[in-house]
Symmetry: C2
Subunit: 101 residues, 2 copies
DNA sequence: CGAACATATATCCCTGTGGTTATACGTCAA
DNA sequence: TTGACGTATAACCACAGGGATATATGTTCG
């Protein structure tokens, strides 16, 4: 589900912005997304269902923020793939270095 | 492009199998994929274009293997998002609260 | 209350793409 | 060379889903 959710560029950009700049209203996200407000709301719904964001209602605005813990399965998957590969003899020192950072 | 490539379950399963079990022929991959051989070939083409697999021709068969170094951008992206998140004060507070629970 | 505002939902359209079958291309064996 | 085999390409279909516009829901303010 995570891959699918993050596959769309617009949606991924929204999530990245929430990671970089913290909590944002739908309006703020819309103004820099290049698509309509309903489109942004739909993307936020998908992100929320994937657990990647959480929403907080304050008056008539809704504030969204990134829920980074949801990325854990992604890191786990990547590490697992690397593990399988590594256990089958080969260098990939470069990748392992980056994983250790 | 990585997210998009790995978003499809069938294609991701093919890649995972190549990671777990090493080099495989198209026929071997097809037999356990649940879809037709042309579909598998198409998926392999997409994976190849994303740099996630390599192909090696041997007679009339083609052997595919995972090219794990292509996952590096994925790890970099994830780490970058985590970095943005941790560098923001309010989120650190949230994290600490959750750690105390 | 009524109007402006912020967001969510409904509806529809249209493209992308994953699936199929049919077929072409290359390779091995006889 | 002919035929069987392994894989790739072609042509087509069906549907998911991202986009827009229109409208509903809910909130603040005069």
């Amino acid at each position: 589900m995570l891959f699918r959710t993050l596959a769309d560029p617009t949606r991924r950009a929204i999530f990245e912005r929430l990671c970089r700049q913290g909590e944002q209203t739908v309006g703020a996200l819309t103004s820099q997304s290049g698509v309509s407000q309903p489109a942004v709301s739909k993307h936020l719904g998908v992100l929320k269902q994937a657990g990647l964001v959480r929403d907080r209602h304050e008056g008539r605005q809704t504030h969204y923020s990134a829920q980074l813990s949801a990325l854990a399965p992604l890191m786990d998957w990547t590490r697992q793939m690397a593990g399988f590969w590594e256990s089958r003899f080969d260098d990939l020192e470069d990748l392992l270095k980056r994983m250790d950072q």
